[in-house]
Symmetry: C2
Subunit: 495 residues, 2 copies
């Protein structure tokens, strides 16, 4: 596949850069063996694969700085990587670049129970923060489903969410302070101890910037008290629209559940077959609504949610009797993706966000589109956030089916935009959503994104070709769209 690069790296510059890195770093810090490199050829969006020039595995911040200074000197791109659990190809290597793994910067530097903060290196796993905070009765709230493996640095790059972000916010709401190195290797401190700070909100800009602005080398995150009590309600509905209306009613009622998830019938059946969660397999849709807080708060909340669910046509509302049942209810939800994976040789997980009031309408539209394209779609939603994960089932070995999947995916994202939503909820843009970004944003905004990026990295060496499409690509994509919209797996021609 012919690849034109956003930046041009000639071979002699690449060679000189590798030689300089070898001189400056201990041998175990630079991997170039092709078999080893293969471990890093993709992230969790494995449809895209690439070998980098080398993988750098620095032990500390100073080595990160050295790598950035040497690569900059030679004009060689750098792609930062956390645990590689990203779903949009944000950590896909650059063929003429260094893949910079932050995995070894994995120390928890401090847990401050009084101020309820944790200071950690970027390679610390999300769940490890909560584990370290647990003795103090605290935890780190954002909980992406990959939380066993994914790292805080990667969470910041993608502005990761999770089941509990409805109540406790996304990563951006839980990161207080970031220390990062710019493409020049200079230290940048963003955010601070207070609720607000002077100066531009660099912490918010860095969060979700997908590794294009700076490399995070330390973060101070907010810890929250473990809730005294958490209980979950399961509600079954005969119509998907009723479940959607119930979601809107709960939120409109001023209730802030710790989680409010929705699964359609196909997802319910797949999960039930797989982990025997005790779900009602005849329901058109179920909701899982968790409330947490003190006993009194939770009890009061449960009563109100129960009433609202009944009012909106729930045919059954079950309160998990004990912790074991509560965990079983969640197990089904958490196993939904692998459970769906058992239904079909391949599936493509979409990620879009819509205003909550549009959930019913957009799900109906997705069902229509699925019929039109002759492909089954299973829906799992962070319903409280309006974050959809339609899973398109297909078989890559059947001729034309991948292309049909791509077209259907494209139409689903368009439906999200038309409903006033966005083409990504929590998985980021990476390489996957570059073309949908052209549909989402007008030229002025895209130009502003590029200007902002260049304010951090004028030579565009950090993770080039990701997150923000070039205007040329968008011009081309719009033409492509008229021709039938090959999306979201176009050739990576502008990478």
């Amino acid at each position: 596949m012919a690849q034109r690069s956003e930046i041009t790296v000639d071979e002699s510059a690449a060679r000189a850069c590798m030689a300089a890195l070898r001189r400056a770093l201990p041998p175990d810090t630079l991997l170039t063996d092709p078999d080893t490199l293969r471990t890093y050829e993709c992230d969790a969006l494995s449809a895209y694969r690439r070998l980098p020039l080398a993988v750098a595995l620095p032990h500390d911040r100073e080595q990160v700085r050295t790598i950035l200074r040497i690569t900059r000197e030679h004009g060689v791109p750098v792609v930062p990587r956390g645990a590689g659990t990203g779903l949009s190809g944000g950590a896909l290597p650059h063929p003429r670049g260094v893949l910079l793994s932050l995995a070894r910067l994995n120390r928890i530097l401090a847990i401050d129970p009084r101020n309820r903060t944790a200071r950690v290196e970027p390679g610390v796993r999300n769940l490890a923060v909560s584990e370290a905070a647990r003795p103090y009765g605290l935890h780190y709230a954002p909980d992406p489903s990959s939380q066993v493996a994914c790292t805080i640095g990667g969470n910041i790059a993608e502005n990761a969410g999770g089941v509990h972000c409805l109540k406790y916010g996304l990563t951006v709401h839980n990161v207080l302070r970031i220390e990062a190195l710019t493409a020049d290797g200079e230290t940048l401190v963003a955010g601070g101890g207070g609720l607000d700070g002077p100066g531009y909100d660099l912490a918010a800009v860095l969060t979700g910037s997908e590794g294009l602005l700076a490399v995070v080398v330390e973060a101070t995150v907010r810890l929250l008290p473990l809730p005294q009590c958490a209980r979950v309600l399961l509600a079954a509905f005969e119509r998907v629209e009723d479940a959607a209306a119930a979601v809107a009613a709960v939120i409109a009622g001023g209730i802030v559940p710790a989680g409010l998830e929705m699964m359609d019938n196909a997802a319910v059946r797949a999960a039930e077959d797989f982990v025997h969660a005790g779900y009602p397999t005849d329901a058109a849709a179920i909701l899982l609504c968790e409330l947490d807080g003190t006993e009194a708060e939770v009890e009061a909340g449960i009563a109100r949610v129960r009433a609202l669910l009944a009012e909106h046509g729930a045919t059954e509302v079950r309160l998990a009797r004990d912790e074991a049942e509560r965990e079983r209810f969640w197990k089904g939800r958490k196993a939904a993706f692998p459970a769906v994976g058992r239904l079909s040789p391949d599936y493509y997980c979409m990620d879009g966000t819509i205003p909550r009031r549009e959930i019913g309408r957009v799900l109906t539209r997705i069902a229509e589109l699925a019929r039109e394209h002759g492909l089954p779609v299973v829906n799992v939603l962070h319903a409280g956030d309006g974050n959809l994960h339609p899973l398109i089932l297909y078989d890559a070995n059947r001729p034309g089916e991948l292309e049909r999947t791509e077209r259907l995916g494209h139409r689903i994202l368009e439906a999200c935009i038309e409903a006033g939503g966005t083409v990504t909820g929590e998985h980021g843009v990476g390489v996957e959503k570059l073309d949908p970004m052209c549909r989402q944003f007008d030229e002025a905004t895209l130009r502003q994104f590029h200007a902002l990026r260049e304010a951090f990295d004028p030579r565009r060496l950090l993770n080039p070709g990701k997150a923000v499409p070039t205007l040329a690509r968008c011009a081309e994509h719009r033409a492509m769209h008229v021709r039938g919209g090959r999306l979201p797996f176009p050739e990576l021609e502008r990478f």
Copy 2:
């Protein structure tokens, strides 16, 4: 006073610009009469006064665009202004610039009760949003004390807070979408309908950017349900340190009060004399802790807070018996500034933020500094946020007292930085805190701020000389600091 300008505007360019504006705009849109201009010579930081070339009062977005295009063409600065209630001089006119008042863009475009949002123009008053939302049982949560007068556009520029931002967040947490015009007059849309969005977080950057990046012409803000029930506890302490420890304990207990305010003895006595709130005037400090939510939630919260307050040495804890007493308790707090104003010919309201755990230590340090400088300081705190408002009492007519006030203010802000805090909480930087910004940030961060600004406004025509000090100024300030630190009222020499 000799004023060197960050940007140079020669007189003929200014004249040509005025002529072009006059041709392009209806007569009532451009004010140049010196007496009229005087109304706009300052914002609520009235120590700084300046006349602009002209005041523009556009009726709509297209006139704003016209003004921006013409001023840019002639290289003339533009200072956007909301209601002029800002406390850091952010809306201080530029002597060779146009003051752009957004006061006439004051329409509420839509209240969407189902999606719980309001779409408003920038000149809509903060309180007017809540008034329009009230029939739907909703309100706009951020409530700066100037909320009767201040506008949403100004709130966005300053990232305004308020008593309730502890629970409901600052402006940045309550603004979903911003439409702004760049210095080129181009429309920029930031944020959107969903919880997260793709692309860099332009909405977060614009919020708190003090009018240096773009001019807000429309905003969609989040509306929250009016709480079913709100009750307030008043606690008295014999020692300020005990009150500070109680604040930390309440927050550490995982309780999120709707407001958690602290006043020291001098503030309590001043407020009591002024509005007869029923405060215990012999207390070293009082706390006001409001809880809101459902009846059950509030009752449970009150019980827990009561216990914690008692544990931390409260000598008296009173629950407001009814709505009238609740309002009286708050009336005292809200009247604290004017009440202090009765004690002294002049007072200077400081604004800094520190980690909550440092409150006791920093208040002790402020008392020491006040003694050293021979000036009384009265403390009012958004204690739950760690946001201090020390009020320095002085008499500008006594020789040397203003200078002593400035020095003391400077030392207080240094104490905030030393405690891990920031030099501004919610009042912004404007012109007032330019020098403290040099203390707060290192050169790399300041350079990044400037680069970010230029990514929006390469010619630096929007509100030049505010919010971010030049590196030259910082170099000079550091020298100044060694010579004794004339702060925070230096000459505006680099304006």
